[in-house]
Amino acid sequence: MKEEQTHQSIAGDPFKKVTDFILNPCNEQVKKEECIMKNKLTELLQNKPEGLLNIFYTAGYPQLEDTTTLLTALEYSKVDLVEIGIPFSDPLADGPTIQESSKIALENGMSIEKLFSQLEKHTVKVPLLLMGYWNPVMQYGLEAFCKRCHEVGVDGLIVPDLPMSIYQTEFKEVFEKYHISNIFLVTPQTSDKRIREIDKNSNGFIYAVSSASTTGSKTDFSAAADYLGKLKGMNLNTPILTGFNIKNKQNFQDACEYVNGAIIGSEFIRQITDVEDISHAAATFVASIK
C-alpha cells in the first residue's frame, strides 16, 4: 500500500514534465534514432577495457543497512563495477551461498523499495547493476522500477528469468527510456547463432557463465578455458564478463586472458560473512584480486 502511494505521488508530481525531461532525455520529444543508451556502464565499456572486476553481493546482507556500507567500501577499493542482488524467496538460478544470503536479507526486511531508499541516500559513483528475479520486479511495476533505477544511479539490470524474446517484444522500450542496460547471459550450451543474436541485442556487456552451473557451485576454473577462448574468437561487439566460479587472483587473471573481466559473487559473500568489519573484509578481498 505504501509503495503504491509512493508511485502515485511521483506520477502526480506537478513538476513531472520538467523532471521527465531531465530524467528521460529519450522521451517522445526526442526522435527515436537520436536516443543512444548512455549511462555510467556504457561509458566504462565504450573502449572495451580489460581486467574489469565486478563484485556481486546481496542487498541487505549481512545486516539490512550494510548495502551502502559495502558499496562505499567497494567504490573506495576501486572496483570497476558493482552488482547488487535483490533477494528473492525462490532464487532458482543461484547456488547455496547466494540463496542463504537472500534468505537472511529477506529476514532482515530487505525489499526493492528499501533498496532504492538506501541507494538514494548514497551518491553512486561506480557503474551499478541490479540483479533480480522477474516476479518482484513485475509486482513493483517495470516502468516504476526502471524510473527509480535511473533516479538512484543504477545503470543496468540482470534479470535471469526474463527471456530475451519477451524482453525484446514487451519491455525493451521501457528499459531504454530510462537508460537501463539489460544484461544477457550466455552459457557453454548457448549456440553460436544465439550468441550472435544476444550480441546484437546487448547494450552493456554479455555475462558469460563460465561453467554450466548455478552460481558458485563448481571449483575448477580450467574447464571454462575452452569456452571463453571460443567466445574470444567470435570477436563479438559487446564486451564480455564472466562469472559464477571466480574465487581468487589466479582465477581472475585466467579469466581476463580471454574476456574483458570477471564477476565475483559467492566468494565475496563468503568473505563478508561472520566478520567483524565488513568494509575491511571487502577492501582486503578486492586488494587480493586486483
Binding site: 525462490d90 538460478a93 534468505k103 522477474w134 516476479n135 528469468d161 519477451i166 550450451q189 548457448t190
Partner: protein, 389 residues
C-alpha cells in the same frame, strides 16, 4: 474461446517460459520436439501398450451407490487409484520417459510432494534402466515415509530439499538447479501441469487419457467433473476432453489448509495474484513485494503456492470453478469415502469429495469425481489425526 495453449506457449495471459538462459537449450529442445515425438506411431504404440499392460488402463468408472444415495445424485468415481503405483501420476511419467528416451537422455530428475510422482518416476526409470534422482522437501520426506521407501526400493536416489518451507515448491527449485547443472544428459520429468512451456501442455496431453476414457465409459456427458488441484495435473487430465463441452461443469478443489482466512493455506486460485513462479506466468500466493508465500496443507501433494497456467486461465475465463476445502473437512471426507465405499482415498483426493455437500445437486445430475490416488501413503497422517491407534 480457446482453452488450449497457443503457439507461444500461453493460455490467455498465462504460461510462457520464463527460464534462465541456462535452461534455454533444454527448453528449446523440448518445445521443438514434444509434439512431433508424441504424434509418432512408435510413441503412440508404446505409450498405449504400456498404459494398458503396465499401468492397467483403462481404469474403471465406478458408480458409488451409497455416496449417490447420500448426496442425491449419481456419483461416479474415476478409479485412478487403481493405476500401477497408486495414482494418476504414472500416466505422465510413462509419456515423459518415452520422450526422454527419444531425446537420448540418460539421467532423469524429478520433484515430488506427496511422493506419488516420485514413485511413478522411479518406476518408469527402473522399467527403462535409467538413473533416477528425486528431490523432495524435508518436511514431505517425514510425512510421506512409505513413498520414500518405495522410491529407494525402486533404485532411485531421494535428495532432501532443505530450503524455504521444505515442501514441493522447494523440491521444484532444487530439481531446476540440478537441471541447470546437468543440462546435456538429463531430462527433468515435471509431475504437474506447471513449469515453463511446453510442460503444462505436455503433461496435460499425457494425462488427458483420463477424460478420454470417461467419455468412452459414459453414455453422454456428465453434468460435473470434480478433481483436486495442487499444480493441477489430475484435474487437467479429467477436464481436458470436456473443455469445449460447455454444459459440463468443471470444478477444481484446492487445499484451504487451516482456512482461507488464516495464513496457513494453499488455496492459490482463491487467494493468489498473477506472477511468475517456476518459469511460468500464472496465479500464485505472494506478498506485496512479490516474494512467494509459504503454503500450508495437510496434504503434501496440494501444498504448493502456485498452480498450472491453464487452470489460471480456466478460472479467469470462468470455464471452470475452483473451491477450497480445509484440512479438517478433507479428513472427514476421507473417512466417509472409506466407510461408505470401501475405498481409502489419498488425502489430496479427499479434498475433491468434500465439495459434494456444497453443491446443489439434482437427482438426475451425473457427477464424476476423479479419484486420483489411494490413501496408503497417508496412513501415518490418518492414524495420527483420527486417533486410529
Amino acid at each position: 474461446m480457446s482453452y488450449q495453449v497457443d503457439e507461444k506457449g500461453f493460455y490467455g495471459e498465462f504460461g510462457g517460459a520464463f527460464i534462465p538462459e541456462l535452461l534455454y537449450p533444454n527448453i528449446e529442445e523440448l518445445q521443438e520436439n514434444y509434439l512431433e515425438i508424441e504424434k509418432s506411431p512408435e510413441f503412440q504404440k508404446e505409450f498405449h501398450q504400456l498404459l494398458k499392460d503396465y499401468v492397467g488402463r483403462p481404469t474403471p468408472l465406478f458408480l458409488a451407490k451409497r455416496l449417490s444415495a447420500k448426496y442425491g445424485a449419481e456419483i461416479w468415481l474415476k478409479r485412478e487409484d487403481l493405476c500401477h503405483t497408486g495414482a494418476h501420476k504414472i500416466n505422465n511419467t510413462i509419456g515423459q520417459i518415452l520422450l526422454a528416451e527419444q531425446l537420448g537422455k540418460k539421467r532423469i530428475i524429478a520433484e515430488t510432494g506427496a511422493g506419488q510422482h516420485g514413485v511413478a518416476t522411479a518406476t518408469v526409470c527402473a522399467l527403462k534402466g535409467l538413473e533416477c534422482i528425486v528431490y523432495m522437501g524435508e518436511k514431505d520426506i517425514k510425512r510421506q515415509a512409505p513413498n520414500v521407501a518405495r522410491m529407494k526400493m525402486l533404485g532411485a536416489t531421494v535428495r532432501p530439499a532443505t530450503s524455504g518451507s521444505k515442501t514441493l515448491k522447494d523440491a521444484t527449485n532444487e530439481a531446476m538447479r540440478d537441471w541447470i547443472n546437468n543440462p546435456e544428459n538429463t531430462h527433468y520429468i515435471i509431475g504437474s501441469v506447471v513449469g515453463p512451456h511446453p510442460y503444462p501442455d505436455m503433461v496435460a496431453r499425457y494425462q488427458s487419457v483420463i477424460s478420454q476414457e470417461i467419455k468412452n465409459q459414459m453414455q453422454g456427458l456428465p453434468d460435473y467433473v470434480i478433481a483436486c488441484v495442487g499444480g493441477g495435473s489430475n484435474a487437467m487430465g479429467a477436464f481436458y476432453h470436456f473443455l469445449d463441452d460447455q454444459e459440463v461443469q468443471l470444478i477444481g478443489v484446492e487445499a484451504a489448509g487451516l482456512g482461507i482466512h488464516t495464513n496457513k493455506t494453499a488455496a492459490t486460485l482463491t487467494l493468489g495474484t498473477p506472477g511468475v513462479l517456476h518459469a511460468s506466468r500464472s496465479i500464485m500466493m505472494q506478498d506485496k513485494d512479490g516474494q512467494v508465500v509459504e503454503p500450508h496443507s495437510i496434504s503434501a501433494g496440494l501444498d504448493y503456492p502456485g498452480i498450472g497456467p491453464a487452470h489460471a486461465w480456466l478460472k479467469v475465463s470462468e470455464r471452470a470453478r475452483y473451491m477450497a476445502v480445509t484440512d479438517a473437512d478433507a479428513l472427514i471426507a476421507a473417512v466417509e469415502v472409506s466407510r461408505m465405499e470401501g475405498i481409502i482415498p489419498a488425502l489430496e483426493t479427499a479434498h475433491a469429495f468434500s465439495v459434494l455437500k456444497d453443491l446443489e445437486l439434482k437427482p438426475t445430475d451425473r457427477v464424476v469425481i476423479n479419484l486420483s490416488g489411494r490413501g496408503d501413503k497417508d496412513m501415518n497422517t490418518y492414524m495420527e489425526e483420527l486417533n486410529l491407534l
